[in-house]
């Protein structure tokens, strides 16, 4: 066998404490974590920091990962959760200082912290997609992966991923148009 080791081999090595293997895994998936965090935050600086924090958490939880094929989805979701936690933390600090009368976070839809209206509406629509759709869509158009590479990373067939991307694109379009109509 030639070429670079696959993710599974790197994960096994990283679990055994191979730092270089973990570094290679991070490098391979860093853009995915960055894209996932960026979809929440809309800010490259914060997204990069959250991508780093994502992999610190990945390292800490690696032992629990039983299915290496799930690694990619795992990274996407940890990055998203990390970014959401970052927003909550900042909201909390603002809120306790200002002490508004009543704030119920559940009632407040997630809004990325961006000034550009078009971008804000796109990202709000993106964040309304189911996780698997959003991940497939962003892998294709933000990570710029070919379907074969996406299939290799996710364990889902290229044909199924193509269908998923088309569905996601259609639903994104509907969500985005709805926001424009109400704006």
């Amino acid at each position: 066998m030639t070429g670079a080791p696959d993710d599974e081999a790197l994960i096994i090595a990283a679990k055994r404490g191979d730092q270089a293997a973990f570094g290679e895994l991070v490098q391979r998936h860093f853009r995915a974590a960055f894209a996932s965090a960026y979809a929440v935050l809309g800010n490259a600086g914060d997204a990069e920091e959250m991508a780093q924090e994502t992999f610190v958490q990945v390292f800490q939880k690696l032992e629990k990962l039983r299915e290496p094929a799930a690694f990619t989805g795992w990274v996407w979701r940890i990055a998203r959760d990390t970014a959401l936690k970052h927003i909550r933390k900042h909201r909390r600090m603002v809120r306790v200082e200002n002490v508004p009368e009543t704030v119920n976070e559940d009632d407040a839809p997630h809004l990325p912290m961006v000034a550009d209206e078009e971008k804000a509406e796109l990202m709000a629509a993106l964040n309304e997609l189911p996780d698997d759709m959003r991940e497939a869509l962003l892998m294709r158009y933000w990570e710029e992966l070919e379907y074969e590479e996406m299939a290799k990373r996710t364990g889902v067939s290229a044909a199924a991923l193509y269908q998923r991307v088309c569905r996601a694109l259609k639903r994104l379009r509907e969500g985005y148009d709805a926001k424009n109509e109400t704006a």
Partner: protein
């Protein structure tokens, strides 16, 4: 796939969305530099030197604590104050409730009743002046008149946050029966809608210690909590008051293993342990900091 989805990426509408996505794609990121930064961060979290597993140290902990306490007494507790590297975070707590009010807790068997005052909003709920020291626990259900119901979402030593928004105004009296259900306490904290690791009045936010880090310290899984953030000061009215966590010199990334002799493996353990401390001046907290065990006491 239905016809309207077939090749949607090649339709006019689909292509427009793809173009919009690409227009707002994140900028390029240096993955190699990112990986280096991650490895550096992990390196910085490694404990210094060899760490002896805590279980082997058990017989020595008491003796070490005694030495620390003795030194504390000799020193008069006047440890030098560490300089703050950044402005202390300040959280405001409304304190317009009538002064000198004490809880009137009538302990009926398994179904106590509390009378507390609402001190203001806190996070996504209300702050009341009843806390762990009065027997409240995260997950307890408060049942008041006129169908009022709330959950205790966060516990401080003297105060608690409850999941009731707008139902009561600041300064209102809350008279409620407390239903303590161990099953509810053991349930997912997220069900209660709060941030269970936020011990606001104590002045610190906690999260469970990840198993990989616990192993590095020779601890069993779930045997400690990590400090995520310390709130240095709370404003009581207009007066800034240093929190207990700050006075203890608790710091972010400290790993708390014991409070007043009680092992800390969960938020409930911590709430219980803080509740036992009727006199906060007696607080004694064992932590790991950079892989070294420290005993923190109020100074």
């Amino acid at each position: 796939m239905s016809d309207d989805l077939e090749n949607f990426d090649h339709t006019h509408e689909g292509r427009e969305m793809v173009a919009l996505l690409q227009k707002h794609a994140p900028p390029p990121v240096d993955s190699r530099a990112g990986a280096d930064a991650v490895l550096a961060r992990l390196q910085a979290r490694q404990p210094e030197g060899k760490v002896i597993p805590l279980r082997w140290l058990a017989p020595l902990i008491g003796a070490a604590a005694a030495v620390v306490i003795t030194l504390f007494i000799i020193d008069g507790g006047n440890k030098p104050v560490q300089p703050e590297t950044s402005p202390p975070p300040v959280a405001r707590v409304d304190d317009d409730a009538p002064r000198g009010t004490q809880l009137d807790i009538r302990r009926e068997q398994g179904f106590p009743e509390i009378v507390a005052y609402v001190r203001g909003t806190s996070g996504d709920g209300l702050l009341i002046d009843a806390g762990a020291k009065d027997g409240l626990r995260v997950g307890d259900k408060l049942i008041g008149a006129n169908g009022f119901e709330a959950r205790v979402t966060t516990i401080g030593i003297f105060e608690a946050r409850i999941s009731a928004s707008g139902a009561l105004s600041r300064g209102a009296e809350l008279r409620a029966k407390v239903e303590s259900d161990p099953q509810q306490r053991a349930a997912q904290f997220s069900d209660f809608g709060g941030d269970p690791g936020a011990f606001l009045e104590f002045g610190a936010l906690f999260s469970p210690l990840p198993p990989a880090e616990a192993r590095m310290l020779g601890l069993a899984d779930g045997a400690a909590l990590r400090v995520d953030e310390v709130i240095s000061t709370l404003l009581k009215g207009e007066t800034p008051v240093r929190t207990l966590a700050s006075r203890l010199d608790l710091r972010a990334d400290d790993v708390v293993v014991e409070v007043n002799g009680a092992a800390i493996g969960s938020y409930n353990d911590l709430a219980n342990a803080l509740g036992w401390s009727r006199d906060p001046a007696m607080l004694n907290v064992k932590v790991f900091r950079n892989g070294r065990q420290l005993d923190l006491r109020l100074r």
